[in-house]
Symmetry: C2
Subunit: 334 residues, 2 copies
């Protein structure tokens, strides 16, 4: 059983998820899954994954875990958290731990092994955003969970252990520290100004236009004022909304368009660059929040600058967001 542990100074929770028979030197070699060969996420291999929890696109009457799907969500075969059991919180002297209860799922974004998320056709890409919404709804029924974290690792250097295009979802019995910090910071701003800080950022960026990468009817992509890395980008709905799961299909269609444009602009600047994206949305158990604003953060993994910050949490960024924004805007898309 995986375990959740809390740092007694920072209050930061981490997951201890033992990998089978790992020895110390195993940590420095690439995961063998990354190098071609058999792909458990491809069609016809449905039986090599745990039973699916959601699938889109099969013809009516086709059984679960059979080919013919356009998108498939399956439990992670090597989960960081497990769905069955009690939380069983306990102390160990001054330390706190609990059982690693949660869900860890894989969203297989396309049946085609060689598809890349950034270049999926809109009618395929939107399925991923719909699946995120549906899985959040479903997992929010489980009273043990406080948050559903959704993220994508693209490229081995960004942590992807499988080549086939996929994203991941982790339902957590605790709040991730970064979300806590955002909720707290935005609530302080709201108490002081009576406005959402994200709405204020969008307003200012749409006036200044120096960090505005692109926009459409419902969304905006910008390079944030104080980015951790060059080419960090945030995609935010223009209209205030704290919960991703409340988006309707029209909103997800707009999101699909701007997400696709944003990733293709990034790829135009640094072809094939690994990146992570993370959905930031409100906690499952809260009512809609006036101070918080859901958004995606896209953080490229740039090899020549990624070492120091890992150990220190302190970021030195060699390129201002106004410059990266200009590079991104200058890309000519087909």
């Amino acid at each position: 059983m995986p375990e959740l542990r809390k740092d007694p100074i920072l209050g930061r929770w981490i997951i201890i998820a033992r990998e089978r028979s790992k020895r110390p030197t195993d940590f420095v070699v690439a995961s063998p899954d990354t190098v071609g060969g058999f792909c458990p996420l491809c069609p016809e291999h449905e039986r090599t994954t745990p039973d699916e929890v959601l699938a889109y696109g099969r013809n009516p009457g086709q059984p679960a875990n059979s080919p013919g799907w356009k998108l498939r969500v399956v439990p992670n075969k090597y989960p960081a958290l497990v769905i069955e059991g009690e939380l069983d919180k306990e102390g160990e002297g001054l330390y706190d731990r609990m059982n690693g209860i949660g869900a860890h799922e894989v969203v297989i974004e396309s049946p085609n092994h060689s598809d890349r998320f950034a270049f999926l056709p809109p009618e395929q890409m939107i399925l991923t955003f719909q699946a995120f919404r549906e899985r959040i709804h479903d997992l929010s029924q489980d009273p043990r969970f406080l948050y559903v974290m959704i993220f994508k690792n693209f490229g081995k250097d960004a942590g992807a252990s499988l080549e086939h295009s996929h994203s991941q979802l982790v339902a957590l019995p605790i709040m991730p520290r970064m979300l806590e910090a955002e909720l707290k910071g935005s609530l302080e701003y709201f108490k002081y100004k009576d406005r959402c800080v994200f709405c204020d950022i969008i307003r200012q960026e749409m006036q200044q236009k120096i960090r505005l990468v692109c926009e459409n009817d419902k969304f905006v992509t910008l390079t944030p004022f104080a980015p951790r890395t060059p080419f960090e980008m945030w995609i935010m709905p223009k209209k205030h909304s704290s919960a991703y799961r409340e988006q309707d299909d029209a909103s997800l269609a707009s999101l699909t368009n701007i997400f696709s444009e944003t990733l293709r602009r990034l790829d135009g600047c640094i072809p094939g660059v690994p990146y992570n994206f993370v959905l930031h949305t409100q906690p499952l158990r809260e009512k809609p929040q006036e101070h918080f604003h859901w958004h995606f953060e896209i953080v490229p993994k740039l090899t020549s600058i990624a070492g120091f910050e890992w150990g220190t949490g302190f970021y030195i960024n060699p390129m201002p967001p106004e410059d990266t924004c200009q590079y991104l805007r200058d890309i000519v898309l087909d």
Copy 2:
């Protein structure tokens, strides 16, 4: 002039330090400095660095910036922050920025290009810890600085851009976010328990012995209860002390011994593994603090698990600290 910028939601400061003529694709290739060739940190090349601010080991009468040194501290040639100028805080709409005033120095830990810090003889290694102390003292005279961050990047994957053994020091006009969080968390604990949380951790770990890697008369090395990565280690003084700069030479000799043993145990487990270490000490402008306890954190950079956390701030650790501790203890040192 570099610039400090504050994230308006998290309150996190980052440094924007433009590198000359960087284009987007430059970020994904290795820094050319890493691949052999001319080393600006070697003896006889003193004139290729900015003028030294400290040197140990030269014979009396030898001029500054000449060979014959055992350790040398020089300003970084490509500084993230610059020493000359005013802070000039200003807003830009809802954003805050200030001039990137600070010091950015390089501690050249040995004259020998091929020496590795972990394997320096004690009489050489202690010079580094003495230099840290002396530079903190000196930089604390400058009223613009609130904190001196000291760290080492070992190995390209951990951010080192030069092969020659060195560590770095950044004097900051702001408090780094991770230190702020530690100070806050430890103060909360102190208010509740009237004890230092780090002292309590040391007491518990010395009783339990399941995460105790090694100890000597004055120091202890442990794998923390909730580590971010396998083989994360903390080196802490057994006796309460909030300020590194208050350590006497006897204390630094003990620190040298345990630091050397700790790094050699790590290297025994994963030969050549890249790592960062970071000194956590109290702010420059505070009196000694009952709630805070200075220490070093050593965080190895393990390639197969380092992607996801970068984007999310959420850590999944595949090996419990009790296991890594056992591996570290089992190493037989010469």
